[in-house]
Amino acid sequence: MSFISSTTIAARTVLGTPAADRARRAPGFDRWLGWLGPLALLIIWVAATRSAGDGAAHMMVSPRQVLDAARELAGSGDLADHIRASVGRLAVGFTIGAGLGLAYGLVAGALPAVQSLFGSTFHALRQVPSIAFIPMLVLMFGVEETFKIVIVAKSTFFPVALATAEGVRGVPRSFLDVARVYRLRGLNLLRYVLLPATLPPIVTGLRIALGRSWMVLVAAEILAAESGLGQMMERGRQMLRLDVVLVGVLFTGLAGLALERGMRLVERRLARWRRA
């Protein structure tokens, strides 16, 4: 239910709202306005750090200090190591989870028998938020790599499986009827009818899954890890290094943004025919 609403919102953002159309047509002035918000925030930040006394030194970190911390972390190679660790876990877990989710979704979407057998288990497990699995997985696999990959795979599997099953089930009957009239079979049926009809919802599911599993991974790294952006932030917090924490927030945000933008690009390409 909540998933359906989230896909409609996603579809609306992909397909564009009237205001978004206006913005696309608007000249550079509108774009320039967009920098005003972040700029104001930056000015307030600088002003606040300038006016704060030495007493609050650890809480008031200026943008320059954050930049210095980022440079230091980047120079020593620590930052690259942490990013590599996090992204590596995400890649492995996401691949496993998405592969399994696609397979289950295809089968469950195409065969009602499978759906009626596994549906209840699937939906019961789906009710447990991924975060709530962390203590159990830690007890099962320890705090090493396995637990992080399993948690990423778990939080990828469910949205992908759900979107795939819905996508397969949502292929309109009329499409199949037309395909029969044209005597499309086998590969051609797949290439010209089934793939174009099912791919857009699947890619939407993949995008949602990627965002969620990134968040869950960072949380898991904060709780228990030897490396990764989450662990870097958590250690920064313990050492009261607000600058390090902010560098971490910046990079987790940027990584999240890059993943989301990338998936949206794929999505838009695949949904091109829809807008016509």
């Binding site: 967009g34 972040p38 975060i131 962390i134 904060i222 945000g253």
Partner: protein, 258 residues
């Protein structure tokens, strides 16, 4: 469906869960190491019964639900306000929109170290995380709903020379209500996740997340599993409650969704 068909469907639906439980029980008898990970079902039931009878489960559950509700209310209210601003005022959308969408990308629980450092490790930090979790989906959905209002309705409002507040109350809000409801349902799931997450990430106090973490620290898998079941049930109950409320308040929307 006939009675027999319904019975058969129920049996089929329970087949796999029963098989999985059987497998779990079988694995739990496979030696000391396996018993640690796969606790016997009897032990889980016993742990659940004790936690129920001594009020431990109820107390933690109530605390978590309280956190979630408080955060949900504050976050949703703020979300409706900002969403309405973004949706109605173009200047507002241009200035605040990019900032809003940029901040939305930062994984929420990834903010925990920052919030912990800035606001301490206590109830305030938790409330902030949960409110933020509810805030973003509601703001996004409200903005969308307000933006997609029928232009004819706005023109009618102008013809009737309605005041700004009247336009908001009588045209924009009813038009955006279905979108706000969708956003709120999404916010519900996120806020519940954020509640558990913040209880795991911040200093322990009462709450289901802390209950599970204590179980983890003591190596008591049965308590962790009892906590997970409780979390799933509360999530399910909240979703059902809100769906029922939606059906009452916006019958046309509930019918349209079916």
């Amino acid at each position: 469906m006939t009675v027999r068909g319904r019975l058969w469907a129920a049996v089929r639906a329970l087949l796999v869960p029963a098989a999985l439980l059987g497998l779990w029980e079988f694995l739990s008898r496979g030696g000391a190491a396996a018993t640690y990970a796969f606790v016997p079902l009897g032990k889980i039931v016993a742990a659940g019964r004790t936690a129920l009878s001594n009020g431990e489960l109820a107390g933690n559950l109530l605390a978590s639900a309280q956190h979630a509700c408080l955060g949900l209310v504050t976050g949703s209210l703020a979300g409706v306000l900002l969403g309405a601003c973004l949706g109605t005022s173009r200047i507002c959308d241009r200035i605040l929109g990019p900032l809003f969408h940029g901040l939305r990308q930062v994984p929420l629980l990834g903010l925990a170290p920052l919030i912990g450092l800035a606001f301490g490790n206590g109830a305030g930090a938790k409330l902030l995380v949960i409110s933020l979790a509810a805030f973003f989906p509601v703001a996004l959905a409200t903005g969308d709903g307000v933006r997609n209002v029928e232009r004819a309705h706005l023109e009618l409002g102008r013809a009737l020379t309605l005041r700004r507040r009247q336009v908001f109350r009588h045209i924009l809000l009813p038009a955006a209500a279905p979108a706000i409801v969708s956003g709120f349902l999404q916010a519900l799931a996120f806020a519940w996740l954020a509640t558990i997450g913040s209880e795991l990430l911040f200093t322990a106090s009462a709450g289901l997340g802390s209950f599970m973490q204590q179980g983890e620290a003591n190596g008591r898998m049965e308590l962790v599993i009892v906590g997970m079941i409780a979390i799933a049930l509360v999530g399910l109950a909240m979703n059902g409650l809100v769906n029922r409320a939606v059906y009452r308040l916006l019958p046309w929307h509930a019918v349209a969704q079916k």
